[in-house]
Symmetry: C3
Subunit: 316 residues, 3 copies
């Protein structure tokens, strides 16, 4: 009677120590540090001839309070239905921006831990409402995704419009991605981001690198650089990255982050982790060391931000 | 360990083009056009002697945003527990009004698509909180349901009180229904609706017809007429209906809707659809072509409303 | 594919008649009278060597409206992930206060029906966000739990801090508990509660008794007494309790509650129930006869409160 529905999720909680913020040093129960806590429902129906219909409904939650994340949306992480044919996959609903998926695949911290690349690098709105996406089949490791998000804002249905795509390669030791995201913020300001990233698994270690440009029509102009490594070590993996956000305008909003982490595997589904991240901010910047879910309070302009976390992540 | 729980749902999304509204022509990602998107949990326990205990918890959601519908209620579509014995079924909780179920069963569009009969015909509050319902067993195709909804409004627990029933017949090619709904809106105004409907399956086509009266104690007085047809055609079904809302008071709030639609079956659980609906409004009317979930913006008084949709519906 | 997830719940609804409140006598659809209505997801992964990882996500809901309880939190009853080893269990997230679990285990009404001990006795905040708990293994019927809740309130991260524990004994006919709860409400006011309770099953009847002190730093000083009995009778159980809240300060906020109830078993998972509770309030007290989920409106100071309920509870 369950029609092949899968109930799945990830729950992640720990203790974090955040320093440098306006509230001073804070020790707290942390949730969703390595990966955002979630509960999902997904299913797939085989329609024959290589076709299938499928869906995902994925809730994001804060495990420390039991509340829904994503501004209280019930299925704020994913909510879509789609069709796959031999010509590719079309999905309709609320989906992750391709540039978010792209950075998540390159960042050694997978945009989590107290060292997520997203602390300094932009991923558009992360997730977008009212979207149609099309993904090509994978051919020799190569695939591409395009996504269009209707604006649907009251008064001007073009505001909030998102145009995004990524071209992805994954074969053998090499992963490469080129991603683009364009969001019409106001009628005279569109935010545009381009990300180029790659990782290469040498065996004893995987090296990760990314380059991103962020520009808008009211003077914003950033260049971001990421260099990282992940190294299998003992019953786990050592992670490290250096991220630099370079502000090419006069606003001095840039910064540099250095982070290290370690995951300790208890099983295929469960691991312990610890990570430490520190940001040095430029003169007017208030960048914060956040994780997959949240971050500490913003520092005074130009001050640093630091966070240390230890916790557990359980998949089901 | 699952105690026979069934997780089920319907997800429906597409593209809609709405014209005639105050916001002009709008193209948008549509959700819940043919049927409202939902995720439900239901179960039944056999208690012996023909008795069972059962429950339904059904969430309604907007697939374009992942948010809960029904003003954010978690289980806003259905939430009840009940007992069935040889003498009938009693349910307690939040339930659909019998007149809604009755119209849903007669309307060729099943109160969905861009041609739902509910665009012009009333179904009470659709769903009511704080209800007790009793349904007779089905005997020779005949059954009846009565529902009482406690008002429970602060200050006056009689406000919001709902009294409703339906008498239903379904056997062979004939479906017939008589439904009543009474809602105490204020201490001196009760809204009363009576619906009479039937459909007859001639084989090559099913013909649908309904008549409704809507009256309240402050002058409201409408008569609604529906005539429709559904015709199996190719790998799907052609649907059409004409609905007229006649305003018998001086307020000129009536209108006429004409709608056509086609569903294309991919499997028992999945279909594609397209539908078009158009409303011509009386002098002061602002009726809108909506679907199973929402509608465009209201037109200026007396202006028309139109909507075209194409999409996919997947059951699980 | 379900990874051993269990979907479970309790749904409880009935009719209640509440008298004595400011709104006068009210008859309403009651929800969660015997037990709060809920839908949960839980799972456990065996990690070998007697270790396991586990989680609980439990939503509380009002069955009369389908809305989430606990101020709309999605998983407001429980939300935690944890590890069990031979040295005990650590859980992280939102959890029940040990003093709530302790009183729930002693009260013949299990803190439900229209006679819950919580109508007059305090259980801290019932559930606390941002908690870490540690529970010892059970040894010869003896176990202990400690819980710490980070305050995490904006501006002062010590506010809301909770320190709590319980020592529990359960073997043969005897259940005993000592529980403590301390909540830092403001920087100069901490609320402290100590509960001592026991029940003994003589065979034809179980006797229940509890004693609690509630003190804060701004003059609050209560002593509470509970005496109760539960008696297997026919196809069910008869329940009764007397609770006295003695105000030792000058504020005259005390009161006395007497309650009786009967559960009628339809199956292991389903029962009918009826209960009646009445509170006599001291001069300035407005204590209300509530149940596992809610209560009537508060009476005028010093007036009594009464509630009668009949309903059904279904577990799945």
């Amino acid at each position: 009677a369950q029609s092949g529905i899968t109930v799945y999720g990830i729950l992640d909680a720990g203790i974090a120590r955040e320093t440098g913020g306006a509230e001073g040093s804070v020790t707290k129960l942390a949730t969703g540090v390595q990966s955002g806590s979630r509960l999902g429902f997904k299913g797939q129906e085989d329609l024959g001839n290589g076709m299938n219909a499928h869906f995902v409904l994925e809730n994001g939650l804060d495990l420390d309070t039991g509340k829904a994340r994503q501004n209280g949306a019930l299925f704020g992480r994913h909510a879509y239905v789609g069709l796959t044919t031999s010509a590719g996959t079309i999905n309709l609903g609320r989906q992750c921006n391709p540039i978010f998926i792209a950075l998540d695949g390159i960042d050694p911290f997978e945009t989590g831990f107290t060292g997520s690349a997203t602390n300094l690098m932009s991923i558009g709105t992360a997730r977008t409402n009212n979207t149609v996406s099309y993904a090509t089949p994978k051919l020799n490791g190569l695939s591409a995704t395009v996504m269009y998000g209707f604006g649907e804002q009251a008064g001007d249905s073009s505001l909030g419009r998102t145009i995004a795509f990524s071209v992805d390669y994954a074969a053998g030791p090499l992963v490469g991605t080129l991603a683009y995201d364009s969001l019409k913020v106001t009628s005279f300001n569109t935010l545009k981001e381009v990300l180029l990233g790659a990782s290469y698994n040498f065996g004893p270690a995987t090296v990760h690198a990314a380059f991103e440009t962020e520009k808008n029509d009211i003077g914003g102009d950033f260049r971001d650089f990421l260099l990282g490594a992940s190294v299998p070590l003992g019953q786990g993996k050592l992670l490290a990255s250096y991220v630099k956000k370079q502000d090419r305008s006069a606003t001095k909003q840039g910064g540099r982050q250095f982070a290290v982490g370690y995951t300790y595997t208890l099983s295929k589904r469960t691991n312990l982790y610890s990570s430490y991240g520190t940001i040095r901010n430029e003169l007017a910047a208030t960048n914060v060391v956040g994780d997959a879910s949240s971050g500490g309070s913003a520092p005074a302009a130009g001050n640093g931000s630091r966070a240390l976390a230890v916790g557990i992540r359980h998949k089901f």
